[in-house]
Point group: C2
Chain length 295, copies 2
């Protein structure tokens, strides 16, 4: 069925997908597509793909399945490019962190929108690029499918089975709900971490302090080492949900700052207790249930 | 020399100090002091201290060294209590995360201020209380001494040697510089983490999302499980430096939010790149040099 798989973007997400399927014994010809031929050659060397092409239309004209593993911002363009030549029975799926905007693009461009399966693997590391992929990335991690009314059951089932063989734990969510939840639980924390490190970079010019940071700070800011282009695209494509989360966060931070200004120890203690209790009771059990490395 | 050591506060910091010294073979009688006799009994059971007292004046009247391992907010009161009865040659030291306010209190209350040695171990976990202490907590972690002009060289040397035998790596800093650096690199990240979890607690009431958080979120918010009273006191006692850091952070976050509002991808990408480069080049090497668990 899926004898020929095209991976658009052979970095951490696309590379790990191919490596995981091959390790699970999935027999198919894998083609890597990208703009950088050096990375594509390296992807063949690493056993990620069997062949490569810098022509997205060539590589997708005769394929059973296309995985779009590019930053979210490139997906619209890629869908538009492949739309005229992609076969009527080719399944197109993606791995973007934002779902509604990707679905909108697919609906706009693809003549067979029913074969488009929107998906989001909740896995990653702070590394990116062709060297970053590894076969076990998805093991025990969540894979969220956000099909819409038009989505073909067969296409959905095929994509679900492939992800299942990577070791991922499958979940289904409504796309809009997905985007709101991840704006708050993933995109917002990334914004705070990027902003913290950027602030300290500025402060460091006046008072050297970065060399005083230790393992705690390194752990806390790990997600600030994530791919800048990927996160730029998340901001632009999940803009409204992210702005809503940022607005609520800023209100919370303002209350905290006001309490410090007013030397209001009771409010501070109450706020910290709420946070501690929430994390101790509502966040940790999930971690214990399904170990995950990074979102 | 230090045959009799009094530990005020037998939680993570004080308990680990005593356990580390004992494991290193330091022979002394250790007395635990606190308000909660149950915790003190438990501290004897765990081998942290040899005896205990709920009377701070009794326990410090005939001791060679007092370690103040309470939240920063209790230190002023404790110093005032022990000042009339502490011997002229007793060394008093602390483990507070804020140094200037503690030094001010010691100067105000202690008749022999020269025997006061301000110190700050850069070590901790998200756990607290009498069960949290362990002998290896300080191994390879930094211990910052912030002596002032009046500080006796002998007292400083004694305290330095004790910390050295816990396995800590010693450093010296000016107290004001210490407070500014840690406001930015430790106190600020704790505020952001507390505030993030508290925000999500509020958002979760409208749209359940906490059950969607995974290991990445749990890692990122680990420091929000820290002791609320300790952090309330840090806010109140390092108020100005922390407010300055929070102000700079809020400016940075405002720029990020503005860039998202304006769909300004170039600014976002530049900001994320600066953060990534800073973390990759200026934060990680420190982590590799001296492994540390948490600040």
């Amino acid at each position: 069925m899926t004898q020929h798989i095209t991976i658009v973007g052979v970095g951490l997400i696309g590379g790990s997908f191919a490596l995981a399927l091959r390790e699970a014994g999935h027999k198919a010809h894998f083609v890597g597509v990208g703009r950088n031929s050096k990375s594509l050659v390296r992807a063949v060397e690493r056993g990620i793909v069997d062949s490569w092409s810098t022509s997205i239309t060539d590589a997708t004209a005769e394929t059973d399945l296309v995985l779009l593993a590019t930053p979210v911002g490139a997906i619209d363009k890629v869908l538009k490019l492949i739309a005229p030549t992609v076969r009527s029975d080719t399944i197109v799926t993606d791995a973007g962190s934002v779902k509604q905007s990707v679905i909108d693009s697919a609906r706009l461009h693809l003549p067979h929108f029913e074969n488009f399966v929107p998906a989001h693997p909740i896995a990653g590391t702070e590394h990116s690029g062709v060297e970053a992929g590894f076969a076990s990335l998805y093991r025990g991690k969540r894979l969220i499918l956000t099909p819409v009314a038009e989505t073909s059951t067969d296409a959905l089932e095929t994509v679900a089975q492939l992800w299942q063989s990577t070791g991922a734990v499958l979940e289904r969510m409504d796309p809009e709900h997905h985007d709101a939840v991840f704006a708050a639980t993933s995109h917002l924390p990334h914004m705070l971490a990027f902003s913290l490190v950027e602030t300290l970079y500025r402060m460091d010019k006046e008072l050297p302090l970065l060399h005083h940071t230790g393992g705690g700070f390194a752990d806390y800011t790990r997600i600030a080492s994530s791919d800048p282009v990927m996160w730029r695209d998340v901001c632009l494509h999940n803009r409204e949900a992210l702005l809503a989360s940022l607005g609520k966060y800023k209100n919370g931070l303002d209350s905290l700052v006001a309490a410090i200004e007013e030397k209001d120890g009771d409010t501070l203690e109450r706020l910290f207790k709420t946070a501690k209790q929430t994390r101790d009771t509502k966040v940790l059990p999930v971690e214990k249930g399904v170990p995950r490395k990074s979102e």
